[in-house]
Subunit: 283 residues, 4 copies
């Protein structure tokens, strides 16, 4: 059951696409395990539909090439993944350990089928735990120019053939140039329920406003700070007894679990980013 392909595809909505793809898969004798076909019609322009597809199906000789050939012919955007190939993740981190540890532990336990190929920290605090799990840790302090810092980090990621960068409380803003290298492949965790409390000190803002829930948001990083496509969010109820310190404390648990969930969606190939800066999560 574990040796399978996962196909993510998207194109303008039209008759026959799913029949075309299932036809090829059937022809090669592969069994479809899951298939989700979702059509979105834009709210303001309901004539224009977009089709989003996710398939899981058995790995069979020659099927991959045949499928790729056909989808390219039809100008369908797609990615085809082999479930046996693990995503290679670089974890970026600053001083705090909660999100960083959560990802490392879930990968170690086999809950997230990925390989953490390296950790990059602008502080040394999290070196020990990474190394105790056999993950090489690179100390790249933020006291140089952003250009220099990012050049080093880019080199590390390239050396390790990184597929996905996870900002596990990295706390630095990446340049547009850096982001361009990993479009839709950098996942951040923001410590608020976006779009509430954009910017600095969201827990203090939350405390001042007297909200009854705090939350966290995991999103792909784009050039617009805190504006990237949201992958996952969650919230937790709080009350007047929480001061800023205890909001931060309870918030850490939400941050860690929301980031881990977002990474899990990504490495299980359950996410498509649509044009409108939103995600389709095939869950």
């Amino acid at each position: 059951m574990n040796d399978k392909y996962i196909l993510l595809a998207s194109c303008k909505d039209q008759v026959g696409i799913t029949n075309l793809i299932t036809g090829i898969i059937s022809k090669y004798g592969s069994n479809i395990l899951h298939l989700d076909h979702f059509t979105e019609y834009d709210h303001d322009n309901s004539e224009e539909g977009q089709l989003y597809l996710r398939f899981e199906f058995e790995k069979v000789d020659d099927l991959k090439a045949a499928l790729e050939h056909e989808l390219e012919q039809k100008n369908i955007d797609f990615e085809l993944f082999d479930s046996a190939v693990n995503t290679k993740i670089a974890l970026f981190v600053s001083k705090e350990d909660h999100a960083f540890n959560e990802i490392l532990l879930r990968v170690k336990r086999g809950e997230i089928p990925a390989e953490i190929v390296c950790a990059v920290g602008n502080h040394e605090d999290n070196r020990h735990f990474a190394e105790s799990l056999g993950v090489p840790f690179y100390y790249v302090p933020s006291n140089e120019s952003k250009d220099k810092v990012e050049e080093k980090m880019l080199a590390i990621c390239e050396d390790h053939e990184v597929d996905l960068i996870v900002l596990a409380k990295y706390m630095q803003i990446l340049s547009d140039d850096f982001i361009d290298h990993y479009k839709d492949r950098i996942i951040n965790i923001h410590h608020s329920f976006l779009p509430s409390f954009i910017g600095a000190n969201p827990y203090k803002q939350a405390w001042k406003r007297g909200v009854k829930f705090v939350g966290a948001t995991s999103h792909y990083v784009t050039a617009d700070l805190d504006e990237g496509p949201i992958i996952e969010q969650n919230v937790i109820r709080v009350n007047h007894r929480y001061d800023v310190k205890s909001l931060k404390k309870i918030g850490r648990h939400v941050e860690a679990s929301v980031l881990a969930q977002a990474v899990e969606y990504h490495v299980f190939h359950k996410v498509i980013v649509n044009n409108g800066n939103k995600t389709i999560i095939f869950d």
Copy 2:
């Protein structure tokens, strides 16, 4: 967009079924709006898979007959619904009004696309509200023999060509014979998070045990009391400050919303009951 067919289908897992169905749909030029293909492998016997399918697609002349013909040929279990045809619901109720009103109001608002064709009460308490919304109310007291009572209720349901019976806090146990007339078409709301607190006085049981959440469970009614396939559940946090009376009060809100959600799943044709007494909810 609203004139569409919905197909629920199930069969032994095998290569080619979804391709077969999408082929027919495509051939008639109908566009698929949603498609969910789910394969379940039994935990104890992973060789034996079962396929569950739900399609939404455009209504096109002659497509229905062609599809029905082909699915019958292949011995696939299926139901094919026309989205323009509303489910006809009979609401059964006793004294309490909360679940009963919730269903009536959601239907009135157009949130649940169904027609409440009649209400049956073993008390008169809810007559006024039903009639104010134009729903005929039948008073069938429970002080006769169950046979007599059920005979009357069956006649009412048959007169109104009822598709679905909703027990909106009806508080009487239906006979196996009655249930047989509406297999997988009677929805009940049980006032606990099943399988916790089966039987009488679940809120008092919950209070005694000191649980930190109470809940409600909506299920199809079967011959085994409180054991039918679960459609929807939800819970709400409580604490030591809740006595039995306040558990009942907060529980009413969960009961009403869980039952309404279950009814909504049913009338949108999102539910398949599998052999193992469980539901697939295509949501």
Copy 3:
């Protein structure tokens, strides 16, 4: 057990206040049923504490006068309520019925111990249901000047000796002058999880941003639109399958339950508004 007093009090934090109050209550032989003593220290200025208190205790002759006398002497802000006296509520409503009906039905069921003394609508849509429950309905259309409209509404509220105005989807902005008449006694429901999506069309904004939860916020109305002290919030998970219409539909359920919960907190005298535009909810 139901014949009791409820005391809400607040003052600068200092030694001995709770001892003073419990001393008076004990002296008169009254039993305290609940007492919550909460001290808040401002985040930026931790020297300055504020004390918030809520007591429930048995009604005993002469105790009320003694307590009021003492609290006035000590310059403690307080309100003393008799649990036997129901809050008189005016419901303001526009076309939508969900929040309006929820409040009416919870009051009718005795879940919210209040009296709905009148309903005011700027459309006629909700007259029937109000009147069917014996609540006088006043049609005050919004097509006149705001001054005129508010003058009429004020007269209605004064005639009915209204304690609390509940905006159950009233959809009009009240003038500062009107609000001044009912400081901390007008409760609104906003159809977003504030501070997200302030202003118009929050569900469309939520859809565009691709958030994974929508919510609702109930707050006291102040001169700053959508900025009043938050009493209650809640959220519900959504996904990419929700369009704006289905967000609105699921949102209605959250709106109704959040508003009802906020009204319940208010009429059970569980809310203190602090200086910083936040609420203490003694739950």
Copy 4:
């Protein structure tokens, strides 16, 4: 603000107790930071009330002795804690790491103000992580008689002057005799939303029943297996796509967070166990 006393007290409900205690605290010039006075009336016998109290107040010379003297005189059950004295915890564990790591990391981060004085495992799997955080790990395999095993564990706990034993997925049943040594001071995590799915393989039971949520329950261990006073519970929504393996996976996250929350309540001295096998959580 951190140097304070916490008082938990309970007695038959009567006039004047809270006044008595606040009187002593005031007399010594100590400021009360929080006070929660809760009276419970038994559902079946509403004449008989029980009073539960929790105070936080400033540490002041001689106050402790005075208070203890008075409470003993009055035959009030109480415990008086100094917030500067950390609870000494022994963690018992088997092979799984999730609950064990969660407690260790929260203590390390200072989120749970306790000292993990030792870890006891019936397998070696978790030695490394414990020792990397400086916690001595004792390997006590379960292949000897229960008497022998428990004798060793008891000796370890006594050597380390353990206040609280946390069963972080220990997976062995403790004898009544062992439990007697730590009455209301052994916290377990059960991998279901009790009382659902008592006994073995709760996730498989949950899968078979088709429930829509799975959960976890943390409780004090008593002689009756899975029947001790519940401290904390939580649930997470699942659906038909979850097989037993994925229920276990998602369940681990709930287990870890529920256990950590229960331990937190305990070490912040927020829990009283009442006679009826339930907890009062002063949160």
